[in-house]
Amino acid sequence: MAAMQDIAAKPPARGASPPTSAKGHRHSLRRRSLVALAFLAPALFFLVVWIVYPTVYTIGRSLYDKTGARFIGIDNYKTLFTTDILTVAIRNNAVWVAIAPATVTAIGLVFAVLTERIRWSVAFKTAVFMPMAISLFAAGVIWHIMYLQNPEQGAVNAAIGGVVQVFRPPGPLSGASPSTRALTGSAAQGFTLRVPVHPGSVARLGLTAIPPQDVPKGAVAAVEPASSPGAVTGVVWRDFRPGGGKPGKVEKGELGLPGVTLRLADRTGTIVATTTSGPSGDFTFSGLAPGAYRVGISSKTFTPPFAGIPWLGTSLITPSTIIAYIWVWAGFAMVVIGAGLAAIPRDVLEAARTDGATEWQVFRRVTVPLLAPTLFTVFITMIINVLKVFDIILSIAPGSSQAAGNVIALAMWRTSFGGVNDFGLGSAIAVLLFLLVIPVLLLNVRRFRRED
């Protein structure tokens, strides 16, 4: 919110020239100065004590060591650019600056233009603008909950999981593995019986590591398969019972596994038939020509369910946080750009349309150029905001990815107050941050002076 002020740092209306009284010009000048001083004194006190003096002090302090006892020149600045934790922060801030301001401005522009064409624009603007009232800290809490990795908990992964499920449904036995070495292969390729089978023989495919709640619904006790001429019969079952049991043997108390996809390959490895197991895990490949075959369980059975994208993990934490940040600030850009849009004379746009310009041409060739100053202001404001980003990272990133999501403003606080308490290095980081905003500061001052 602090940085919202920056938007205002554009030229104000022309300053009023003061009334000059005719008599006693010099006297009145002194009097006016005293009156002005009386009005300004409280503000000057605050500005000097809380901004001017601290700024000078911090610049000086950055040249001293941790405790302030020893002058060490630019050593803190060397540390700043060579310590891993801090270079990560600087790099992350660069990513922030490269992505967030441009995206926020672009989204704000699109929303501002589109809402002009709907009747319920006030409702839309309110919805998008609302996050501006929420603290960035609370916004971090909100998105932390959205981003939780488990699709059962995190809404983002739940939504993605819903789509993934359509294209790649999870197998019924995602965590299972063979109970004996009779089956070879892997979950990704499926498991195949080591020994070939012939028509008339039986196949036993024992699986284990299946928790009770993962046993497919409708499963009944497994039955030792009976041989049938001209067919390969078999059973796929949960080769485990309370107390253990003997691996590779269908025993009392062990359940069949229905719904498992089985495949039959001929000698060359070509799959000649597939089938699905019944309630007791039974299956039959019938009508087979004599010869050797291999029975296996298709990998489809073991497809793991969507595990969720680790949005809050170390590699994605910065992009994830930037998305949350854009969610907060898009409304700001939309409202400011919307006001700029409302100020564009309608007849300019209408004239372009009358001349046969398409809506896209009007947007590209008329609206955007006329809005350029507003877009620039929003963009600059966002750069300042992004350089100062702090609270949202503290609340969105779990402890394990705080370091990976670090930024300059946060690094300054951690170094100074987060346990290390190195005021020398902390001051140097603050000065770096200050140097980064100085171009914007000069820009604001120049624009102000040009107008005034």
């Binding site: 300053g15 009334p19 503000a43 700024t55 009747r119 609370a138 400011v336 100074s416 604001n444 001052v445």
Partner: protein, 302 residues
Amino acid sequence: MAAVAHQAEHVAPLRVAEKRKSVAHRLTRVLSRAPLNILLLIIGVFWLVPTLGLFFTSLIVPDQISSVGWWKIFAQPSLATLENYRHVFADRSIMSALVITVFIAIGATVLPLLVGALAAYAFAWIDFPGRDWLFVGVVAAIVVPYQMALIPIFSIYNHVGLFDTVLGIVLFHTGFGLPFAIFLLRNFFVGIPKELLEAARIDGAGELRIFMRLVLPLGMPALASLTIFQFLWTWNDLLVALTFGRDTQPITVAIFTQMRQFGSNIDLIAPASFLSLAIPLVVFFAFQRYFAQGLLAGSVKS
């Protein structure tokens, strides 16, 4: 925002009148706009979902809150209770944090407003040597990051006993809130008709009297915008209170303290977070107009 909406309304009837040729024509128009309306509806809902998600999460029964997603509430309404809120209201540290937040936000709104209005008047209507240079300094100060002052103010506060006090936090917010306050108010005050002030001066009114009787009442819209602004800004602060308070914790810091064990106590963090943003949201919805005006003041509108 209201101003923006007003403008848009102004334009719409014109276009409608233009194209009101036939029913078929109008129908085509409605249909051609349908994709846009649907798109914006989806976006609007998308923008609301995260906040609603926090709210629904805060309602989930404590023993389920860290295992089920908030949308399960719709399938299983029995998951929703006010249990978590009962706990939050019984939690003394969260409640005292809310009170401290109120104190900080009110103090840090009133003080910069008063001090800023005085200075803004001087910048707008009293001619004194160095005025423009001083004002350039104020404009420059707007972008100075907090981080430039944290360390020295921390040392000063420790010496003078302002560390871990509401006053210390309020004073810091005042210092850093002033540049923008002065800037915004000065730009508004400058727009007050010169004749009004000159008439008052000719009538022999002193500067203080003019300020109190004329400038403050006329400057109400700007003061209102700034009040909303400053209130939301200080209510939502984390950095300042985290640095200058230990036991003096506003709600953001209190939640942050809880968060060090996030996951195990989300049943406290979710409702407390929602409470912390409920008040700014109420302020926002009640005074949205002033909020948006403050945002625009001095930038686009001037």
